[in-house]
Homo-oligomer: 321 residues x 5
Amino acid sequence: MLTIFIHRQGQTEPVTSIDRAWLAPGSSTLLWVDLAAPTIPELLILSDTFGFHPLSVEDARAELQYPKIEAYDGYLYVILHGIDFHAGEKGIATHDVDFFLGTNYLVTVHDGHSTSIKALADAVVRNPKLMNEGPVSLFHRLVDSMVDNYRPEVEKLEARIDELEDAIFDHPSHTLVRDILLVKREVAGLRRVVIPQRDVVSRLARRDYVDISTDMSFRFRDVYDHLVRIADDAAIFQDRVTGVLDAHLTSASNRLNEVMKVLTVMSTIFMPLTLLSGLWGMNIELPRFPGSDAAQFWWLSGIMVVVVAGMLAAFRVRRWI
Amino acid sequence: MLTIFIHRQGQTEPVTSIDRAWLAPGSSTLLWVDLAAPTIPELLILSDTFGFHPLSVEDARAELQYPKIEAYDGYLYVILHGIDFHAGEKGIATHDVDFFLGTNYLVTVHDGHSTSIKALADAVVRNPKLMNEGPVSLFHRLVDSMVDNYRPEVEKLEARIDELEDAIFDHPSHTLVRDILLVKREVAGLRRVVIPQRDVVSRLARRDYVDISTDMSFRFRDVYDHLVRIADDAAIFQDRVTGVLDAHLTSASNRLNEVMKVLTVMSTIFMPLTLLSGLWGMNIELPRFPGSDAAQFWWLSGIMVVVVAGMLAAFRVRRWI
Amino acid sequence: MLTIFIHRQGQTEPVTSIDRAWLAPGSSTLLWVDLAAPTIPELLILSDTFGFHPLSVEDARAELQYPKIEAYDGYLYVILHGIDFHAGEKGIATHDVDFFLGTNYLVTVHDGHSTSIKALADAVVRNPKLMNEGPVSLFHRLVDSMVDNYRPEVEKLEARIDELEDAIFDHPSHTLVRDILLVKREVAGLRRVVIPQRDVVSRLARRDYVDISTDMSFRFRDVYDHLVRIADDAAIFQDRVTGVLDAHLTSASNRLNEVMKVLTVMSTIFMPLTLLSGLWGMNIELPRFPGSDAAQFWWLSGIMVVVVAGMLAAFRVRRWI
Amino acid sequence: MLTIFIHRQGQTEPVTSIDRAWLAPGSSTLLWVDLAAPTIPELLILSDTFGFHPLSVEDARAELQYPKIEAYDGYLYVILHGIDFHAGEKGIATHDVDFFLGTNYLVTVHDGHSTSIKALADAVVRNPKLMNEGPVSLFHRLVDSMVDNYRPEVEKLEARIDELEDAIFDHPSHTLVRDILLVKREVAGLRRVVIPQRDVVSRLARRDYVDISTDMSFRFRDVYDHLVRIADDAAIFQDRVTGVLDAHLTSASNRLNEVMKVLTVMSTIFMPLTLLSGLWGMNIELPRFPGSDAAQFWWLSGIMVVVVAGMLAAFRVRRWI
Amino acid sequence: MLTIFIHRQGQTEPVTSIDRAWLAPGSSTLLWVDLAAPTIPELLILSDTFGFHPLSVEDARAELQYPKIEAYDGYLYVILHGIDFHAGEKGIATHDVDFFLGTNYLVTVHDGHSTSIKALADAVVRNPKLMNEGPVSLFHRLVDSMVDNYRPEVEKLEARIDELEDAIFDHPSHTLVRDILLVKREVAGLRRVVIPQRDVVSRLARRDYVDISTDMSFRFRDVYDHLVRIADDAAIFQDRVTGVLDAHLTSASNRLNEVMKVLTVMSTIFMPLTLLSGLWGMNIELPRFPGSDAAQFWWLSGIMVVVVAGMLAAFRVRRWI
């Protein structure tokens, strides 16, 4: 879907087609063109009307592109990733948004899921003066909003790691491994999507490109700080997940030790007793303890109690029980 | 096999030998010489006709060279790796293609397996105007096509990792280790072959060499983006394979815990019972439970049931069963 | 709470409101404004009176910001972290302090927990000449004091690692894992909070900003050295905690080996004896040893002693006992 | 042993002493002095005749020096390592060769094991025109030959890793660990000796030193490529050995699982049967199954078969057998 | 203790106090002041007589400072670490030596344990011309000697690693872990103390400071080489200790496998035999084998032999015995 906002002589209005004169270098007309899930004919506007370089147009058409920033003759081409809300069980999912940023126009291309662009379009309708700030400011608003949208997802991830950390010590279970490894992969995915964006925004903040004013560079530095924080959080998360995995492995090893101790204690106590009962079950003349026939059983029981006591003492010395 | 395409006065035609005048600096003749699995005499053309530096000729002759780019006097010497299709069980296999790129010629040397070169030769025959774009453009077409050929192999690798990830949790088996380690080695091999090529193409994109026009540098930047993506995918694959190996190890440790618990539970339940039966098997006067002779068996059975119940309760408390 | 110290004509006095003339570039009046847990109206002073850039004001308002240094037009904006004493079981906790450093003023914003700022305010009251040294010197005093406050916390951490190292060999227990992983996380937290501050102070020491005199840069280099030492200590701690975890894992594996050896030795000794007693318990005609009926038992006992001795010899050879 | 080759007026001849006039800056006499396992008096030539800096002379005397390149006034001082053939079981062993490279002389100092120097001395005798190429070319020939000598050792190492990889899956044994760790150490040793040499040669190839002509720099770039390849191979070897070690550890863990399963299966089947036989061995009145006295045995046997079948079914469900 | 050597007009003599005129920029008097375990009044000489910057004086007073080099106005301030001999069981211990290096003086501050300084003081007394070389040369002599003193400690460490490597395969024991982890920590400590010193000396060798002549920079490059070698050795040691730890862990896992195999083999052989003896111990009518009453025992023994032989064959097939 093609949406065009035009701003001239202090007025913002939606239009349906573009006059090439508006794009001329000295033109005072400001333009925001949004292509949401564009059809092939709609995409023609990029090459035919704006005359963008075929490679950037091809990138804008392609599905999943990595975040990057490229200076072409007369415009900046930027790809950033917005986060998909309600991605559900698939974990963190993103969509890419393409920006063509010229001196008096901003063109955005995306798959229609960007809540940030919808919100800005609504804001422009409600407050037409927004357009007056120029395309760099519009661009900054979008980037700022897209980055802010990462925060809830980061917090969700943090909550899951908190849960895992509690679970690993309080009720460890081997089904946790799957969860741990899933979270680990998501954290890696978050880093992978945030770090290149941080670098893109860092270049905007450092004013590598002349179109960015000092004040705008301060604003991008602010967005950059947010991205740095998310990247740092992701690094912390990675450490924590690794810690959880370590804890799982050591607690598994501890449980094995526990189980084996029980087995060994039981076997070590019962094997001598069983042997003793086996000896007195032999069909040969057995040695007699002093006393009556009935006393024989109690003599043997007494010996067994002594054996058990000795074993328990030995285990106590080794701190096994 | 030696194939020569020549382009002059708007015409492209195959020829069988080279006139040295065509190679003169100001010559408007454009030339593409392809040496597929060349014989020793065919290789002489490199030193005798073109006068390439002995070291680059030696490299072109040698079998497996690492990707690199070197500026010699009057030409660029580039080695890149194409992927072998149908490599089968051996995993990812590559062949090296050598490029000598001069102002008005392109010389390619390879072992005859390059599908990209075959495709370009066909394209030049069908559409002779291709040659008109000059040797850098031909070179770019080859590089672009060679890099595109990596994609299916990368996807095959991804599919195998997907399979491993499913298998590791759903039907773990110790034969998986071999597969995991094989895939791990292939991922390492992919990184090893892609990363130096990425660096070579990055230098072409950054216009380190004056013969690359701005527009061509944009095109190489595009190829560079593809290689960056493959290298990133390989990094992701590496993380995932490591994750699969971790999962295998932890699930092996979990299975061991399970097995040991069963053994311990069984032993702990049966050892006291066996002792009890052994005691009453002794050939001495045994204590009598109240009741008839026939009731003795049931008294003992009752005691055993109590012992088993107590053990099961103890295991339940420890969450073993 | 808003506290304002003003220094003019050799006099320091607390005031309750600010005259904008004091802030003029050539003004000889020196000013320290401290906002401790400021209310919203109190924060207005930052934008209204001082005219700080909205982004830095927003950062000063926000809760937990990362350490950073940013040059704005006419002032430096610095965020550093002070350590919370008595953080108790939560481990290392910090609060951020914001500094606005102009040519003749210093503004500090914090949540009211900073003991360093309280101490400096007391010092200024007791010794009014301190203000005469200028805002950079005040700023240095605060930074120096904040960094010094890290030392006791670092030493507490070191003491805990010492304890863990002793415990792991002397009375290993699986409850240690939780402690080890907690300390590990705290060490990581310490590094995370110290390293960016080290980089901020390094930039002050390197005189990236013209307002810092050579002598002041020497002083900041000194603070930088302290931070380097803390960061190095944290790196050492990390190594040591990793070593403790390794020691725990290997000692767990050693204990498992010990337990299994006991089980195997016991089983291997008792199983043949039990079989022997079982054989002579069979209700069939048994082979007789030479001698009387009473001698049969001692023959069998003798055989058992021989079996046990043989087993023990075999274990001795394998160095199991 | 001191060997001196002198080249003047197109003639190469061995001499036994050096005329200092030959070393004068403008002299057209070319000189190669080789000191093989030199005696103390022979070493005096370095300081007395050539006037080399005491530190470089001291380095040349010392036993095992690290590869390095240092520019002194009037000459380059280079240390490289040649590989010892037939090092046998000690793994990879190297000797250092010291080069003093002046405008019209080359001095080599080594312990007499260098096959490359012997080969070049023979070549100079057979083909006196070699000397005419100048000292840089002689130096290049030696370096090239020394680096080529690494190849067979690298291939031997590769063959051993191939063997280990086959062995680890086909007939794993705990004696393999020692071999794996030995190979691992050798691979680390190879990297340690190759990487600094790669950096030394890289500086020669990059023409950091003015005495290297463009053509010579191409030749050193070629040697550099060989060293890069060896370093890359060593990196691959390291990955592979780590993979073998991982495979060993996981296969050990798998074997333990197998062993424990067998033990558990056997115990779980036999313990109930033994209890049953123990119960019917008690010396009390036993319950009777229907049928004759002789049928009792078969009733019990039947029950045992049912127990075994049930156990086996349970194991089958758990995929243990 | 304060020791002062003064050199003027070709004479070196110890004095007890300093004339400030000697320190004037153009003065030809050379001075070496050594403060060994100085008292507070002795330390006043640093600020009062020499007028060193308070921060460097404070560092010189402080106990354990990290190696560093700092240029102050008119002098270099350097901290290096000497090694303590006879540190005994505490492993590697160092003391810091502070150097103030001016154009015509050298001041050294240390805790009195430095053998290098004692040796140089003796040398100056025996050979007064040493002072004539100037303070940079004295400084170099001290640094060189301090670095040389590391060598024996490095070799002691190497010897301990050699021992561990032998022990781990020849008579592994779980008490080795403690030794391994101790050596590991010492190796880490060695790296931590050597690497910053290497960087300090590297800056002296690179002539970052104008007071170092070319010849002196050669000498510092030599010291730098020694430090590089020690750092490299430490890196090798670290690899080797890690290898020893790996070997310990794998050999522990191998021993566990061995123990479990013995247990499983024993149990698997004896459990069927015990069951068989139990069956024929039942107090019911047992099936009879053909032959006499006495033959029954041998029939059963024969069956047992067959069972054992079958089990052993099964184990042989699995390569367990």
